[in-house]
Symmetry: C2
Subunit: 361 residues, 2 copies
């Protein structure tokens, strides 16, 4: 049996239940902006050395919680573990993004793809169990995966891209091959997230980091349909607890109505979205997560606090059946001064309590 949860504000907000303050966590909160993270990474030798070692992964997952009173932990891992388990050979060169040894661009490579044996991802599930144990009920643990489309971008491009030329060429020239990649990805991601839930993840998040690069019409068919396919296969409960699911599409602001109907409990928003308008549009059916520009954290603490209040004011006073989880609109930058995060977390908690009091008064 797991330890009882001491701070369930994040899970409650996901399910649009009242909370005493707005819960906050940050995408990539365990990361390079923290000196203690860089020290652990140096010991591990490489990013994958860190991610595949249960003890290191546990250590870095908990580091931001030692510094800041965050309301959730997120598994330390990478969004590309699934294609790595498919045999594509993931690596990270220093100072560069992810790279795959093999790319998936032709009929043969697509035909060879299959849902990987989940035992190849055992290191992730072991990390989840280990982190859950180490958290000891302090805050809930979020599991995650890249979305089928986002994984496909990396699999076809072979790494990051600034124009998505290869993946879009394949999509426009051979939609049949793209659909097959996305089907395999969706079923693999579903199995992967279900195994994380079984290992102890108390919520799961799907990162559609590159959904926003698609044209209107193509996004729905090549990204959202497959996120929906993942969500439809996920366990909604584990050990009697609801497992909320978050769907975050960077650059997806134009498609919020459709995203909110894909089966997630929470929709993640980037900073281009007007949070108040999104609440009016979707707040009756999903909770919202977001949406501070991570670059705000390069300003002095007072400016950080001001922008945090602007986000909370944009959402407005929390009412019954409304849910807001404070977050950035994208991962925190490695160049962020750690004291900016202190100001952010403190202001979210303090000001969101004040908003609740004002409403009550």
């Amino acid at each position: 049996m797991s330890a009882p949860l001491q701070n369930d504000s994040f899970l409650r907000a996901c399910l649009r239940q009242p909370t005493e303050h707005t819960p906050v966590w940050l995408m990539r909160q365990a990361g390079r902006y923290l000196p203690e993270y860089r020290a652990t990474r140096a010991k591990a030798g490489s990013f994958m050395g860190l991610a595949t070692n249960r003890d290191y992964a546990t250590e870095v997952t908990l580091q931001p919680l030692e510094r800041y009173p965050l309301d959730a932990a997120i598994l330390f891992s990478d969004i590309l573990t699934v294609p790595d388990a498919m045999g594509l050979g993931l690596s990270f060169a220093i100072g560069e993004g992810p790279k795959f040894e093999k790319v998936v661009r032709d009929e043969a490579a697509v035909a060879a793809l299959e849902v990987p044996d989940m035992n190849k991802l055992r290191y992730v599930f072991d990390a989840v169990s280990s982190i859950r144990k180490a958290l000891n009920g302090r805050v809930p643990l979020i599991g995650f995966s890249g979305s089928p489309w986002t994984l496909a971008c990396y699999m076809v491009e072979g790494g990051g891209s600034d124009d998505y030329r290869q993946v879009k060429s394949l999509m426009y020239a051979r939609p049949d091959l793209m659909h097959r990649i996305l089907q395999v990805n969706a079923d693999a991601v579903a199995a992967y997230l279900n195994a994380q839930i079984e290992a102890g993840a108390q919520a799961v998040m799907l990162f559609d980091s590159w959904g926003g690069v698609l044209a209107d019409g193509m996004f729905q068919r090549f990204s959202l349909d497959y996120s929906r396919r993942v969500l439809a296969q996920l366990k909604t409960e584990h050990e009697g607890q609801r497992i909320p699911r978050i769907l975050f599409t960077k650059g997806g602001g134009l498609w919020l109505d459709e995203i909110a109907d894909a089966g997630a409990d929470v929709v993640g928003l980037d900073w281009t979205v007007n949070l108040g308008r999104a609440r009016a549009q979707l707040g009756h059916k999903v909770a919202l997560q977001g949406n501070l520009d991570p670059n705000v954290l390069f300003a002095p603490p007072d400016a950080v606090r001001e922008q945090v209040r602007a986000v909370l004011d944009s959402f407005g006073a929390p009412g019954p059946d409304s849910g807001h989880i404070f977050n950035l609109g994208h991962g925190i930058s490695q160049h962020t001064p750690p004291e900016s995060v202190t100001a952010l977390v403190d202001e979210v908690h303090a000001y969101s309590r004040l908003l609740r009091q004002r409403r009550g008064g």
Copy 2:
């Protein structure tokens, strides 16, 4: 006196007047995907050698018109000529983007900025006159500039960026400095575009290529307000002809109503926007330009034609007082096969004529 215009479909569509077909031109249509462009550039030695030489600039501006029956020409130049004239020292290293020798990040650098002497940009106005003459009334010539915000991004970052950290840090930490940069940029851009109009540009376009990276609220204050300041200063007529103005904000789909009220005749759209919905929303007050994903051009000709028809169908049958100019949602890629453009232009003309016949029948 200038030669009379033989094909005014582009100008008519900008002003929402009826046309026999949907006019088409492509952002960056004179560019590296054309072998004849690469040959001229090789002669010129460098990108700036090309852009600052009136004869070369004229030659490359006309090259795409020799290949394709495009409905407009656009001045061959760069969006960063204005900050270069401010003394920041623009250069282009081979295979890399633009770089400035000096960056504008502190109080002193901001204080030193001023609207440059337009004589430093004489080479641009000379190119405009020369191109106008060479066109000899074939199609209209579009002049352009980067928007105040987009110029500021490059001036503060010193070149391209993938996170806009420097410019956003300055904006959040020292909004007063950022406003001062943007005021100078806006007044400089207005003077620059007016001089292009006097030299013969028959329409002008403001490229807010990086407006879409801003947070909701910040976009309005730091990008759109200054595009509005430019537009308010522009000559609306020259030699008895209306000079339509186009405002294109890449990633601006969430702010279309506000963009459409900034004073432009035409709003440019990227491929994430649903063109039919944008027409319903804005079509009664502005014409729309866009919005094919440039990556479509990597697919075979039949797929290109299919996607072109999808864009035209999304806009729907043209009616009275509606204006659509077909374009990509961003500049054409240097890797584009030239024959894809043949298919695109042909399909825009043929299918848009068919749509008009159907409506008439």
